[in-house]
């Protein structure tokens, strides 16, 4: 979780963001490609993901911007995992809570799924249907917070 509680950048960001166009939350999508350079080091490059093929890793970047005049408290971002994608983790330092049933949220390693025979098994990334971030601190007026998660196209 990269939280940019910075009013300092407000001026620059305002020029780019049409205010209130998305009521504060913006989503961007990229395809990540790993390319090994001439020095033998693999680097990940991002390109806007207008098109993707099965197996591609897709990166979603969600940016919340408090466009109101008051601090935003208890900011909660929820993102259902779109059909056709398998959740592949978050790049954020504070991992989001996830859900496999849309009701119970928790760290992935605490969740279980019910198998066809009635027994329960540890949930896997592919079972995740919802992702949720909750900010412990308020976002000041004009501040931003961004969140990321990765998913693989089935």
């Amino acid at each position: 979780m990269k939280t940019l509680l910075s009013g300092l950048f407000l001026g620059a960001a305002c020029a780019v963001l049409p205010l209130a166009a998305h009521a504060g939350l913006k989503t961007e999508v990229f395809v990540e490609t790993s390319v090994v350079g001439a020095d033998g080091v693999a680097r990940t490059t991002r390109a806007p993901a207008a098109r993707a093929v099965p197996g591609d890793q897709i990166l979603y970047v969600l940016t919340f911007r408090n466009e109101a005049a008051k601090p935003a408290e208890g900011v909660t971002i929820t993102n259902p995992v779109p059909q056709g994608l398998t959740f592949a983790g978050s790049g954020d330092e504070a991992a989001p809570l996830v859900s496999v049933d849309g009701r119970t949220f928790g760290p992935l390693d605490r969740l279980t799924v019910r198998k066809a025979d009635g027994s329960s098994a540890p949930a896997a990334a592919g079972d995740v249907t919802q992702i949720r971030w909750t900010l412990p601190q308020a976002v000041p007026a004009g501040g931003e917070a961004s969140f990321t998660f990765r998913a693989t196209l089935k």
Binding site: H22, A23, L25, K26, R51, A52, V53, P54, N66
Partner: protein, 314 residues
């Protein structure tokens, strides 16, 4: 003592299909039994749209505010991916074998795939499609591959493909089945996982067939004792062993009637079944002072037993 020496011959130069890939074929058959034919993961189909919208809620001091983000969409492009796997070898006759392969569409769009046999044996091989996927080659189940109408496969679907190769007397060896997607408009937009896929099976390595003949005899005199005297009957047993792997073609067992003895009419037998002494009506004959039995093409390993009797002349 009367003695004789039998001969066994076969057309050694015109052999032979050998099951070089038998073990691999068996493994493939076992594997097949464990995995259903259509067990390929279904890809997200080309043309689908992946839409993502996130939601935010927060308190602005008094009220709770909820809103949705802008939706972002990603369209799923075509992924061209496919595979050919060798499954098993099935013998059809002494001169031909069928190799089974499986062609699978691993991409996310319906596709036609062209097929060809590569390698030295290509001109002697035909390709058949077998939607039944049976483990044996049944002419009623297969259709000859027509390059003008290549098989179309849905994403995740697969089809069994046979190559049937006729022997020409020399070693055929490796048979490669190659598959590639039939191009169509818009291919430039697709992602290609591979251009072609080739799987190899093996038929007809040089023969490792060897034939040997073991001759034994039992003697019975007129009083039932095991004595070789005038009038005693000698029963000769010629045990022909075809060892190794492959087919020994046109195998003939022959044995001259020994000097000093007379052939017992109608005593010729092959594996216990009576043969006539005349030529042309069955596998055996008495001609030119020798018995001979044509065993035809024998798949190794095998043992065939020829017996006949003579009476020691006075």
């Amino acid at each position: 003592m009367v003695s004789g020496r039998g001969d066994i011959g076969f057309e050694g130069g015109k052999t032979l299909f050998v099951h070089g890939a038998l073990a691999a074929g068996l493994l493939a058959a076992l594997t097949l039994a464990q995995t259903p034919a259509a067990a390929y993961a279904a890809e997200t189909p080309a043309g689908a749209t992946i839409a993502n919208t996130a939601h935010v809620s927060y308190r602005d001091g008094t009220a709770t505010v909820s809103s949705a983000s802008n939706p972002v969409t990603t369209s799923v492009a075509e992924l061209i991916d496919f595979s050919v796997r060798y499954l098993r070898v099935v013998r059809l006759s002494a001169r031909s074998e069928a190799l089974a392969f499986r062609l699978a569409n691993l991409g996310n769009s319906r596709r036609a795939f062209a097929l060809s046999v590569e390698g030295a044996a290509a001109s002697r091989c035909k390709i058949y499609l077998d939607p039944t996927g049976r483990e044996t080659f049944e002419p009623a189940n297969v259709t000859l591959y027509d390059p003008a109408r290549p098989p179309e496969l849905d994403p995740g679907a697969s089809i069994q493909v046979w190559t049937v190769c006729e022997g020409d007397g020399s070693a055929v060896g490796q048979v490669d089945l190659k598959a590639w997607p039939v191009s169509k408009p818009g291919d430039g937009q697709a992602a290609w996982a591979r251009q072609t896929s080739v799987a190899s099976g093996e038929v007809s390595q040089p023969s490792a067939v060897a034939a040997s003949l073991a001759k034994s005899q039992s003697v019975t005199d007129r009083k039932g004792r095991a004595r070789a005297v005038a009038g005693s009957t000698i029963t000769y047993t010629l045990a022909a062993s075809i060892q190794g792997r492959g087919v020994a073609q046109a195998v003939t067992v022959s044995d001259p009637i020994p000097a000093g003895a007379t052939y017992v009419a109608g005593s010729l037998r092959l594996d216990g079944q009576a043969l006539t002494d005349q030529s042309g009506d069955d596998a055996g004959e008495l001609a030119g002072g020798a018995v001979s039995v044509r065993l035809g093409d024998v798949v190794a390993p095998a043992q065939r037993v020829v017996t006949f009797q003579v009476v020691i002349n006075p």
